[in-house]
């Protein structure tokens, strides 16, 4: 087994509700992510999958539990050390248009994280880095001078991915990153995630409600319900022989196209 890059242990998070009650979106989650692995997290709205992404990113402070990257715990880190830790894990959001500033050029949007983290101090080095980021996600360098509204949904998602990559992270968290895209564009972005893993050795946590997307992309899959993983196994096993009743229920509910043409030749084969 490959050594775990990210380990999450017994993660708990709750929010207060009215009249002293609490809601527990994360109720004792434990898992690990190996280097170069794509882990899919499936679940319906409200199961806590986005909260998990946000808790990993540090947007919420967990009540209990450990989040470690390369064995190093997040809590207790301050200042430069915390920044350095945070650099290793970056996020891609569902709607790239709302996560970009409408008045900021793509170049500035890509350089802002580098500014915060003090990377590539020289301006020309930064621009060079931006160009290679755009190239990595399949966009022309001319995109640097343009504004978000001048791009289509698929291109914006490429920019969202480029921005997440600008800090050269080891882990990407993608929260419903292809859900807002049209089918033909969705396939392009799914392929892009796969290429990035191959080329850069990225580890990816891919959160989606679409089981078919997860089955295509992920090495391992976890099914989440009410703040807990009810099943977590290799994609192959989980899809072929789901054990938990909830997993079975989710799979049974996928609307299917019975008669379907089989793609004649997949463009590239996967090792």
């Amino acid at each position: 087994m490959k050594p775990a890059l990210l380990t999450v242990e017994d993660l708990h998070l709750s929010f207060p509700l009215a009249r002293g009650r609490r809601i527990r979106p994360l109720d004792g989650l434990s898992f690990h992510l190996a280097r170069g692995e794509i882990l899919g997290i499936a679940g319906e709205s409200g199961c806590g999958k986005s909260t998990l992404a946000r808790a990993l990113m540090g947007f919420y402070r967990p009540e209990r539990g450990h989040i470690r990257i390369d064995g190093q715990e997040r809590s207790g880190l301050k200042g430069k050390d915390l920044l350095h830790w945070q650099r290793k894990m970056q996020m891609v959001f569902q709607d790239p248009l709302t996560s970009l500033d409408p008045r900021q050029t793509i170049g500035d949007a890509l350089m802002e994280p580098m500014d915060i983290h003090g990377l590539h101090a020289h301006r020309e080095a930064r621009r060079q880095q931006c160009r290679s980021l755009l190239q990595a996600v399949g966009l022309p360098a001319s995109a640097l001078e343009r504004l978000p509204r001048q791009f289509s949904g698929g291109q914006l998602q490429r920019i969202g991915i480029a921005r997440a990559l600008s800090l050269e992270p080891e882990i990407l968290i993608a929260d419903e990153a292809v859900s807002a895209l049209d089918v033909s564009i969705q396939a392009q972005i799914i392929n892009l995630f796969r290429e990035l893993r191959e080329r850069m050795g990225l580890s990816i946590i891919f959160i989606s409600h679409d089981l078919a997307v997860l089955r295509t992309l992920c090495d391992r899959m976890a099914v989440m319900q009410a703040g807990q993983f009810v099943e977590m196994r290799s994609t192959e096993e989980l899809c072929r022989d789901p054990q938990h009743p909830y997993t079975r229920q989710l799979i049974a509910a996928i609307p299917r196209l019975r008669q379907r043409r089989q793609p004649s030749s997949p463009s590239t084969s996967h090792p």
Partner: protein, 338 residues
């Protein structure tokens, strides 16, 4: 033969912009028989939602205009009717369900009073009778305890429940045509499954009701429709029986669209076959070439220069692609519309 319920004939719409009128739907021809279920599939901007809105007379005027064609519903051209006559059809003979029930329901009124309002637009009922009818409608869409539930506000219900309420309203007057625009897109898979089953059951109970289902999801369309029409850049590119079209699509776009969906039952090893590029942007100029040209791997020289005619294939299958003329047999007819 019985006359079709709805004939869309050369429908054209345009969006007014600072650069003039931009055509969106371009000479759309579709026929819907009574009791037939037709899926309209396409990506954002293909004109599928606008088609539904045109039939309902809900296009935001004057930004979006119908610039040509006819919409013949039960023998009369909808576009020649007065607004009042259109209103008499809307919600009575033709109803619509939308993607987001929260946006279609008012947050200020109970769902009971909103269903009552939908009833009263077309039918006068007394207080007690209205109440009874509302309960009956809620019960029909699988909402238990209708007496209690009718006093709830939309925010007190789940997304699936709200969509059931919308279906209850849409079916209140037993319409002949139900238009459903992405009715399950905002819902979780298990709830989507329930709503699709509910719609299938409603269609089974009323075999004369026709359904026009607008969706981007082949699985959703397969759950309800016998026939499917594929739109691309405002034009119909392929139409036919769902089983035929999904197993042997004739248009390169339909082929690419089908191939690029991750399939649960047959997962792809490696990269997904994906269509390169994106759909063309709106443009004011008339197109004299194939809209799909830039993304097509099978293009030939005449795709660059000639407008693409509609080719009718056997069994109501049709496709807008030059390749058909090459591979086509003598039995196929050529023309500019089905």
């Amino acid at each position: 033969m019985q006359e079709p319920l709805l004939v869309i004939e050369n429908l054209q719409t345009a969006i007014s912009s600072p650069r003039g009128l931009m055509p969106v739907i371009d000479r759309l021809n579709l026929t819907l028989e009574a009791g037939e279920t037709l899926g309209l599939i396409g990506e954002s901007g293909s004109g599928k939602t606008m088609t539904g809105m045109a039939i309902m007379d809900l296009l935001p005027k004057p930004q979006v205009q119908i610039t040509g064609g006819r919409l013949i519903f039960q023998g009369q051209d909808l576009l020649r009717l007065t607004p009042r006559e259109r209103q008499r059809l809307r919600g009575a003979r033709i109803s619509m369900i939308f993607q987001d029930p929260m946006a279609s329901l008012s947050p200020f009124y109970t769902i009971g009073s909103q269903i009552a309002e939908a009833i009263h637009v077309h039918q006068y009922l007394g207080h007690r009778e209205t109440r009874r009818r509302v309960c009956e409608l809620l019960d029909d869409v699988g909402i238990t305890e209708p007496e209690r539930r009718m006093r709830l506000f939309p925010h007190q219900m789940s997304g699936g429940m709200r969509q059931r309420v919308m279906i209850a309203m849409a079916l209140a007057h037993e319409p002949d045509l139900l238009i459903a625009d992405e009715p399950t897109t905002a819902l979780d898979v298990t709830i989507q499954d329930q709503i699709l089953k509910l719609l299938a059951q409603k269609l089974a109970v009323r075999p004369t009701m026709s359904l026009l289902l607008v969706s981007h999801n082949w699985g959703v369309i397969a759950a309800l429709c016998q026939r499917v029409a594929v739109m691309y850049a405002g034009r119909l590119v392929e139409e036919g029986r769902l089983d035929k079209l999904s197993s042997a699509p004739a248009h390169p776009y339909t082929q690419g669209l089908l191939d690029s969906i991750p399939d649960w039952d047959h997962p792809t090893a490696g990269l997904l076959p994906s269509l390169p590029g994106q759909a063309p942007a709106l443009s004011a100029t008339r197109r004299t070439r194939c809209d799909f040209l830039d993304r097509c791997s099978a293009r030939i020289s005449r795709c660059h220069t000639e407008a693409v005619p509609w080719h009718s294939l056997p069994e109501g299958h049709g496709v807008r692609c030059h390749l058909q003329a090459l591979s086509g047999s003598l039995s196929q007819q050529e023309g500019f519309g089905p």
